[in-house]
Symmetry: C2
Subunit: 134 residues, 2 copies
DNA sequence: GTGCACCCTGGAGCGGGCTCCAGGGTCAAG
DNA sequence: CTTGACCCTGGAGCCCGCTCCAGGGTGCAC
């Protein structure tokens, strides 16, 4: 049996985060001691690890809640999980694409602005930002 | 002279956004009519275009405020702007790298989970999320 | 028996970029 | 002269994932 601080240390999060996850329905309210202390078991360590891994794949806490509910629903099938993963991957791809467009623009501007001593009113970067509205 | 609604339409934003920008110091409080209506000039259209372009390069409004202040400071030199662009580019690169790691992981999991009819307790994706804590 | 680290609850705050609301005033067309 | 579209201010709310706080109780070592 782990108190919240011990579990938090094991999961590399803070007790505040665990109480937050509980409020958000990501972890079950655990058994409590006579004094009202939360007492966790080893399966909670696993569950927190699951949450972390899913976060590392870009899932939001709301999405992770869905994944967790699928996991504990007998009738669920693997395809539902897969579909969520595919959707997330598409979302990530779109965001990466947008960010790559930004870096390409910046690369171009930085290259144009090689002479660092130029006065500000002739800075190619600032002129580009002012440039003609589409 | 443009009222806030006209300027907003021209800049493809809402009046609320313009008032927000004013509060945040991104645009100057404009001249006001007798009735207290904001009256903008053409330079405000340019300034808003600048803000939009900078946003499209990934700069936050706070950073854009800095860019704008550099732009209107005589003593500023082009190198300061360039440094901000380089820093932003590095930040973007780091974020892209993190997101690419996510998509690679998801690609792997999705590939492992080809049989969509599998019962949930043998889903390779969920097992991976449960998998051994590092 | 006292000090200190831990635990509890409830609620607020943050960053970022808006968005929306109430409760008013103003302007122009018909 | 009325209607409807616009404008004003101030402040609250939203999403997301925490983080921190006040004001209390508990557990254990010295």
């Amino acid at each position: 049996m782990l108190t919240i601080g011990k579990l938090a240390a094991r999961a590399h999060v803070t007790p505040d985060t665990l109480r937050y996850y509980e409020r958000e329905g990501l972890i079950e309210p655990p058994e409590k001691s006579a004094a009202g202390y939360r007492l966790y078991g080893d399966d909670d360590v696993v569950r927190l690890h699951f949450i972390r891994q899913a976060q590392d794949c870009g899932f939001t806490l709301a999405e992770i809640r869905t994944l967790l509910s699928l996991r504990s629903r007998e009738a669920a099938c693997c395809g539902e999980v897969r579909a969520l993963a595919v959707a997330k991957n598409r979302q990530l791809a779109a965001r990466i694409k947008a960010m790559r467009a930004m870096t390409r623009t910046l690369d171009r501007l930085i290259a144009a602005c090689d002479d660092t001593g130029r006065p500000i009113d002739r800075c190619p970067i600032l002129s580009a930002f002012n440039g003609t509205p589409r």
